[in-house]
């Protein structure tokens, strides 16, 4: 049963990502991406990463994809779909891409893991996934958290500067 569900999600993720990226209308592409992220969130649940699954949905679906949609609406989605879809020399690039894909997939299917950390599944089940991530995050990576705060603050200023329009009425 679990294999069946997992198989569905594998096929669906790959299928959706192909479908999403080949849409002519960017709005459809963004919606396909939304569907892809929902499926990936479910795959995270297979991996006992419930907190990350929810964060994935909240951040990607709730913030990033809406940002994409707003940008599309701002630019006028109807005109965008009329521009040319692919680059003029795309056969060679597809070849490079497929070669990279073969290397990546081939290499990944041969990976063996010897290392085992101390955060076993029973430990995570005991204190809960969210708490385990939180304890690790704030005890081992406090500087990382601060840096993320700064990294999120700077784009905010940058976007405000980029989107600033001078008042011409004066």
């Amino acid at each position: 049963m679990i294999y069946l569900i997992f198989g569905y999600f594998c096929i669906a993720t790959v299928g959706i990502s192909i479908v999403a990226l080949t849409r002519k209308n960017p709005v459809h592409a963004v919606l396909g991406l939304l569907l892809l992220f929902l499926h990936i969130a479910v795959i995270y649940l297979f991996l006992n990463a419930e907190f990350l699954a929810m964060v994935q949905i909240i951040v990607y679906a709730g913030a990033i994809l809406v940002m994409f949609l707003f940008t599309l609406f701002l630019l006028g989605a109807k005109e965008l779909s009329s521009t040319k879809r692919y680059t003029s020399i795309f056969e060679g690039r597809v070849l490079i891409g497929v070669a990279t894909m073969a290397v990546i997939v081939g290499a990944f299917s041969l990976i063996e893991t010897k290392y085992k950390g101390k955060y076993t599944i029973s430990y995570i089940q005991e204190i809960g996934n969210t708490k385990a991530v939180g304890v690790l995050l704030f005890n081992e990576y406090p500087i990382g958290v601060l840096l993320i705060g700064i990294i999120l603050l700077i784009p905010m200023i940058a976007v405000a500067v980029l989107a600033w329009r001078k008042n011409d009425t004066s």
Partner: protein, 331 residues
């Protein structure tokens, strides 16, 4: 197998109860607003108009289903379902009493925030796929409103999560029952006020019903919808009201419990089943929704956004700081 069957039955029970509640909330809304405006409200169908919601539902389901010629047909059809599904899904994580809950998730609060952020797409899609200016403006307005207020909602809930030390809604209620006041609405008063205002905006209700402001936008993103698809949006709105009322009850008003100092004073109240307290609190919140709709004028859109970004979000952040400080040093 038996377990699965039990789950299905539970789901049906919850869904049936919520649907009945939604039907009669529309009736209650019309009656209460009628009283507030010194008129009778519906009186024709049945005694005191009690059968009015049933008549309305029969009527709306037999109307003609119109799809505009220039609409994006598929998205136009999917949009109401997206809204309905992702609001109804919230009912699965809400504990109605200490042992009646469909799925006892460890991350209940996050789940609710996540499904709220997906439900926005239904509204955006409804606005975009209708291919009409009014719908589109309504959809965009609704999206920016819901997204801005979702931040405030999340921040106000973060204070509660900090105090309870858990994201599980059931454990939040238990942790609340242990405190001196018995409810988080008193120690988390800033969070409580922020939550209530954000909940009104999140569900697109008056005084923040900008997306469907009929004087400016005809009916917002609902303009092109008719019959049954319109009814689905309507259903989703009322279910969202109930979900928000339940979250408020669970996170700030003690869920199915009542504060200890009341039961110490009046011990016979402990015999009352928890679902009664839960229902009373939820009904009170729904009444607040209707009451405010009857009394407050609608805000302007820029006022709405500046309340969200300049008042509620800073208040929520300050609330988190204070809560964290107290939790770390005073307790």
């Amino acid at each position: 197998m038996i377990e699965l069957l039990g789950l299905v039955i539970k789901t049906f029970v919850v869904f049936a109860i919520v649907l009945t509640h939604v039907a009669y909330t529309t009736y209650a809304e019309r009656k209460i607003i009628g009283r507030a405006q010194a008129r009778m409200g519906p009186m024709e169908v049945g005694p005191h108009g009690l059968l009015q919601p049933i008549a309305d539902f029969i009527k709306i389901f037999f109307k003609e289903d119109i799809i505009p010629m220039n609409a994006e047909k598929l998205l136009f059809k999917i949009a109401p379902l997206v809204v309905l599904v992702f609001t109804t899904i919230n009912l699965t994580v809400i504990p109605f009493t200490s042992d009646f809950i469909i799925a006892d998730l460890n991350i209940g609060v996050l789940f609710i925030l996540a499904s709220a952020s997906v439900a926005v797409y239904g509204v955006i899609l409804a606005g975009w796929s209708s291919n009409s200016k009014y719908s589109f403006l309504g959809g965009i307005r609704s999206a920016s409103q819901v997204l801005s207020y979702e931040i405030a909602l999340g921040l106000s809930l973060a204070g509660v999560v900090l105090m309870a030390g858990s994201l599980n809604l059931r454990e939040i209620v238990y942790a609340q029952h242990k405190t001196a006041f018995g409810i988080y609405a008193i120690p988390q008063i800033i969070g409580f006020v922020v939550f209530i205002i954000a909940a009104f905006a999140e569900t697109n209700r008056a005084p923040f019903d900008l997306p469907e402001a009929e004087t400016e936008l005809v009916a917002g993103y609902l303009t092109e919808y008719s019959a049954f698809r319109y009814a689905l949006f309507f259903l989703a709105e009322y279910i969202a009201m109930y979900v928000m009322a339940s979250i408020c009850t669970l996170c700030f008003l003690g869920g199915w419990t009542i504060p200890k100092f009341i039961t110490d004073f009046l011990p016979f109240l402990e015999k009352v089943p928890g679902i009664v307290w839960f229902a009373i609190k939820v009904y009170a919140f729904i009444f607040l929704y209707i009451w405010i709709r009857a009394t407050f004028p609608r805000y302007r859109f820029d006022q709405l956004l500046s309340i969200g970004w300049k008042v509620l979000i800073p208040a929520g952040i300050i609330n988190i700081f204070i809560t964290a400080f107290i939790k770390r040093f005073a307790l």
